[in-house]
Assembly symmetry: C2
Homo-oligomer: 367 residues x 2
């Protein structure tokens, strides 16, 4: 394998609460793994943004920061938002939603996989085989209503869900690409369209567009499930799930449910991917209850960084970044499986710094 | 206790698929329990409706049946709908949604309780203490869009969510009444408003109206959760949940999730309650995969009938109907705990008729 000397610019937004803590740990791990594998360098620039920054500066996300994100090769994001820190109109400070819209990050990719060593949440032994990917459409759906809803006469309020052909097609195409990669690894793959086509016009349209996309990917299986039935299926037989694509709001609910199946948000990475930009962020929030105490589980942040490396590797044809992503994953797996460090989130004694140290220490053996 | 000679008229709609099977079993149990307790009689009138009836007659729900439901003291409902049986415009045949609107059945009451003998789905021992009630608002929310959505130029589709002050207030009041009853039994109670107030205007309005109602019930605790966080909480710590009230679509998703926590839909009863009418129905559907084979678990249907008896008891001040409801519940509990019959749904060998026979046989000891 040839060694590349390229450098990739990463815009880093730690944000608020435990976002800052897990990001600090993650940057150490990224740097240690870069030393271990060699190859492309990451040049990290950190930007202040979020609810605390809003309190200090009067702005949640500077235009300059947005520009830096636009210019960077990828965005690495901690978490943002804080209880009771709000804009004058009462809405919460959640710049991650603005970034999704601003950069057209239409595919919210939320992989859920059980790792040996993790607590078992479900009694069924097959829960060890949980390994699925939820693709959440992220630029329309019910979230189209954000900033557009209205209350009439303090008597009734309306919010409108939008489903477009283009939006549904690109999210569905993305899901089939994910399935294609899984098929290469596992022999077969299937994409499930999760909707509520039995009740809503927009959801029947979502299903129709999905079916059109599915017809172009006959090598991948395709099926449908109503969102309520899928919520049940996730609890009853999550090991049978493969790739799913769904509307924005449904995806928000199902992805938290799914994270619960593997123990909680501390193991759930996510990627917000568009055609030109991408942002990588743990699925958890700022966790005000434990923020500032160094207790957070940084694994979701680490796994999100690995997703970033994979995305850069594919986009820029830099296979060594993929090697680095696998290295990080294997080091996390080894740490959890051996119990070298076990997160406080799951009743272990390892705080954020302990987890980071242990995963870094596991890198050489994971090579 | 005085014995009443009153008769209550029950409109029975078995519907499609396993709805018919569990309803037949339920009517036997209702009759046996009436013999056992004495007191008010139920006069049952059965009406044909649903997808199969639509195929035979060209109508899914006759006006005469609607009138009979309106005139009855309560409606007992199996399940309706069948894959690929659709109205000419492509929508599914789901008269239960029409009935909710027609009779203003605004409170979808979905109690979730683990019974000794049931399979344990979650590894945590505290899952034995799962005992909560989800109140789903059922006349507006996203379902307001049903029949109103539109596809424009085959390019984009819109569906609008409606939240009214009146609708939110009555669902919230209902939830506090449920909590009041639980407080009488358990010493304390709490209602959680489940919304997405951080993103949607309508959901912030929902929370605001909930808070106004909560202020009138200071003896009951009140708090809030975002719907995604609640989906996670249901998997992580469902034993900490008490009473919840939420928007129609959110409630649809969360109630299926919740049923999964106690093994599946076969143990999940539901009641659709309005100010003048009420309908009682197992939370499961017609289950085309097992319909016609007599394999369905009738317990959710039985528990729904018990909810009907409770509702009639309270409404008409007939405490003996409440006695009958408790008798049915205890007979189900005894059957499952002793293993006298164990549903095929959970890997047991008891089919629908076996379950019904065993629960009826358990009535005398449960008195
Ligand atoms: C913070 C919140 C607005 C956000 C969302 O609802 O999308 C979060 O829950 C997520 O899943 O990324
Ligand atoms: C059949 C379907 C339309 C219905 C709903 O979505 O309300 C069902 O899922 C329910 O929960 O009662």
């Amino acid at each position: 394998m040839t060694t590349s000397n390229r450098t990739f610019d990463i815009a880093v937004l730690p944000g608020d609460g435990i976002g800052r803590e897990v990001m600090a740990a993650c940057l150490e791990l990224l740097s240690a793994s870069e030393t271990a594998t060699g190859g492309p360098a990451l040049r990290v620039t950190t930007h202040n943004a979020g609810a605390q920054y809003y309190l200090e500066s009067g702005e949640a996300l500077l235009a300059a920061t947005l520009d830096a994100c636009r210019a960077a090769d990828a965005i690495l994001f901690g978490s943002m938002g804080w209880p009771d820190v709000r804009f004058p109109d009462g809405t919460e400070i959640i710049p991650q939603l603005d970034l999704r819209m601003e950069f057209g990050l239409y595919a919210g990719v939320r992989p859920i996989r059980w790792f040996p060593g993790l607590p078992k949440i479900l009694t069924d032994e097959r829960a060890r085989d949980i390994d699925f990917v939820l693709v959440r459409e992220q630029t329309e759906g019910l979230f189209y209503a954000r900033g557009r809803g209205e209350v009439i006469d303090n008597r009734e309020a309306y919010d409108t869900m939008q489903i477009t052909r283009e939006g549904t097609a690109r999210a569905s195409e993305f899901a089939f690409r994910v399935a294609e990669r899984r098929r290469a690894r596992r022999g077969s793959a299937r994409v499930t369209c999760v909707d509520k086509a039995n009740v809503f016009t927009s959801m029947a349209f979502f299903r129709q567009v999905f079916d059109e996309v599915a017809a172009k990917h006959s090598e991948i299986g395709a099926d449908h499930a109503y969102v309520d039935a899928m919520a049940l299926m996730m609890v009853k037989k999550p090991w049978t799930l493969d790739v799913m694509v769904t509307e924005n709001m449904f995806g928000d609910i199902l992805s938290d449910l799914a994270a619960g199946l593997i123990g909680g948000m501390g193991m759930a990475p996510s990627a917000d991917i568009g055609d030109t930009h991408a942002l990588f962020q743990p699925a958890h929030g700022t966790a005000p209850d434990i923020a500032g105490q160094g207790k957070a589980n940084p694994c979701a942040m680490f796994l999100s960084a690995a997703m970033m490396l994979d995305w850069l590797a594919e986009r820029h044809d830099e296979p060594q970044l993929e090697v680095r992503a696998r290295l990080i994953e294997r080091a996390i797996e080894a740490t959890l499986e051996s119990g070298a460090a076990f997160p406080m989130e799951f009743g272990g004694s390892a705080n954020c710094a302990d987890m980071s140290r242990a995963v870094i220490a596991a890198l050489p053996d994971a090579m």
